[in-house]
């Protein structure tokens, strides 16, 4: 339950932050959520990772559908990822997820007592 809450909260708050703050606000949000909704470090990492993977992946997927893959294919080719929309959506999701995961890990360690 905690995992689900942390994941969804990370995604939701990151989305809101992204409307006003630079892209790296996802790190701050994930850190804060992990610090508040306390979980074991690996679980916190996973919650941050999954939260942003879903958010960035989902947004990119949605935008890409509406755009008929026009731009994603061009940018994927430019970034040497083949002419593949799916690849660049996955890369996008993974990049966001990775940053959020590690930030969440830090947040979790902030709250962990050294004995546990």
């Amino acid at each position: 339950m905690k995992f689900l809450i942390a994941t969804l909260l990370t995604a939701l708050l990151s989305f809101i932050a992204g409307l006003y703050l630079p892209w790296w606000s996802i790190a701050i949000v994930s850190f804060a959520v992990a610090a508040i909704v306390h979980q074991k470090p690996w679980k916190a990492f996973l919650a941050g990772f999954v939260g942003l993977f879903l958010l960035w992946g989902g947004l990119a997927y949605w935008i890409d559908m509406k755009n008929n893959h026009l731009l994603s294919i061009r940018v994927a080719e430019l970034m040497k990822l083949g002419q593949s929309s799916i690849t660049i959506i996955l890369v996008t999701a993974f990049i966001g997820a990775l940053v959020a995961g590690f930030a969440a890990l830090s947040g979790s360690y902030l709250r962990s007592s050294s004995g546990k």
Partner: protein, 817 residues
Amino acid sequence: MRVVPFVISTVVTAGLVFALNKPWGETLPMPAGKFLSPQQGFWQNAEPADQSFDAELNFKNLKGKAEVIFDDRLVPHVFAENDEDLYFIQGYLHAKFRLFQMDLQTKAAAGRASEIAGSRAINFDRGQRRLGMVYAAENALHEMEADPIVLKTVTAYTNGINAYIKTLTTATVPLEYKLLNIQPEVWSNLRSALLLKMMAKMLSSETEHDLANTNSKNIFNTDVFKMIYPEVPDSLVPIIPKGTVFDMPGIVPVKPADADSVYFSKKDTMPARPEVEQDKTNGSNNWVVAGSKTQSGAPILSNDPHLELTLPSIWYEMQLVSPNSNTYGVSLPGSPFVIIGFNDSISWGVTNAQRDVKDYYEIKFKDNTKKEYWFEGEWKKTTLREERIKVKGGADVLDTVAYSVFGPVMFDESFSNGYSQKKNLAVRWVAHDPSNEVIALYKLNRAKNYDEYAEAIKSFSCPGQNFVFASHSGDIAIWQQGKFPARWDMQGQYVMPGYDSSYLWQGFIPQSENPHIKNPVQGFLQSGNQRPVDSTYPYFIPGSYITARGITIYNKLSGMSGITPQDMMKLQFDYFNTLAEDARGIFLKYVKEDALNAEEKKYSDIFKNWDLLASHDSKGQTIYQGWLDSLEREIWTDEITQINPAAYWPEEQTLVELLKKDSAMKFIDNINTPVKETLFDVVTNSFKKASAFLNAKEADGGIEWFKINKPGIYHVSDASKSKLLPFARTNLHVGGYGNIVNAVKGSHGPSWRMIVHMTTPIEAYGVYPGGQSGNPGSKFYDNFVDQWTEGKYNQLWYMREGDKNDAKVKWRMKFSN
């Protein structure tokens, strides 16, 4: 808190953020995290296929209400209550759909490309500054802002651009800014002036060959020079029909007394780039047929300006309506007005005049400070202009340019085209002179008849253009308009001495004597960048003329009657190779058939049966052009390379004409061999060499013409034509060449094809190889390209007040204050 793991994971997070927020490299300097963020990065530029462009916008600058109606091709039809609002909205729309290209082009014009591209653009920027591009723009701006109408119009236009720029956020900024990791810059009236000078440079700055010609002078005396670089080609069909009587010249420039010794016979070499491959690609066609030759009885005007083709396109199509004007056509993002188009009463189009309006003078400085130079027997002070070039990712570069009585000293010991000659060369260029092209466009957009058209274009100085004209009332006309120096014979063909005032330009050809004609007996007029007049015109007018297209168009139009707009479309897409018709006779007469091997025979047979069309899949065209290029090298290389840097290459048109006249002309012989070559030898040898080239190409994908000509349209910022290929359209199945009416040559070609039939109501067609949106994430980015490739047109919707609720209306933008 678990300190050690906390520190480690925090360092990793910070490191990731830092790495993803840092530019990658020089080619694609976007920070990956920022670029990939779906909320701020490139995804935000992925425009939904069903994007609505409806909007209600309020700006304090507006005086009244206005409405912009978009049709299904995203062409805006702007209805404003006054001119200022009209041009404010034009600026807003240019910025909304084309901001990046405007920003890039004017930065490049000002010699600021290094701010975007980094240190690799420094030399380009120095060249721009040394040519005096900003100086020229400042002079133009001064003149423009002294004219109250222009000041009002251009300022409104600038305000419109800036109103849009202000709305931009990290997420909504155009894709290219994200890719290059730069920010848009505020617009100013100066930047519109810079855009005009960019066009002046594009169209009137490589039309002279003074440096290479000076090298030619070492090898060829004046008589030979005039033979191999002829003023009037034998086959010329001028713009102004032959037999037209010209006025007595209003100014007769005088050759300096010592010209024979210090100008004509003086031998010297200049830092000129060798020009083996002729690249006179900035051509254009326009023509007009009178009602007597059309099916409807109304004139038809056609225009296709040939420019570097880019995505986004240089053109943006629109209709501009205010109480005193209703103009449709293509505009140039960065400049107000319609540049090529029509209104209720008239239509007009332009081709480049190709006239030489730039000369070089050799300057002697007193010392390295460049503060004084020798002129009229004394040391005269220069004006020094300090240029600071900002370089992305590097230190500023400082450059000092000395200004003389002629203009900026472009070349000196610190800047010499990459050659060892350390000449101080000053540039005298018409584009430096104060002028007001903007008012010409303002008036032309509103002209009602021939007189108003002729009056409007008078102030158009540079780049000189052939303004073709048709009116609803049935008049047709053409003016070659520009400010052209009145030269004594051969003045400015070579670098001139910079210490003697008698070598200065002595004046300009009076505007009324510029080549022009109205309602000619033949019932049509054409221009295709050829010399505008025959040899009876009383001035020496050198230039970088192209002869062949004018002949093709003249021949076709002469034989036509009952013309329809569809006939004109066919002519704009015509592939007939006029020069090849002449050259083929020479090739087939002089090739030694028995000396050819089986492979060569195969090519020769294709060539014999070629239909003389430069179609995209033609093999004959490839063989022909390969053969002619090879023959040019065979004949001229030995002469041209007697001097280093090389002399100027004669035109292919000239070679064919010379050979037609004299099959034993002396240049056929290779002066570096003991034997005396004949035309039989060089034609056969050049064919064998061309065949070897063709063989290699055939093994490497084929010799269909488009595989050699490589038609392609690249992103406007991709000068290398290799770094942004996903934003380009390459491998286009279209034919043509620089001397063919459908003048597609590599990434050059017809940048806008327009046909206007002056009926009631006006019937017009047009297409350009691009799309209305500059956003590579929009379906409107390149949606006209296929049509353009196939020679198809859009019917242009000249909207009336009453059409505002027509079913074809797709979106509406409402503007008010």
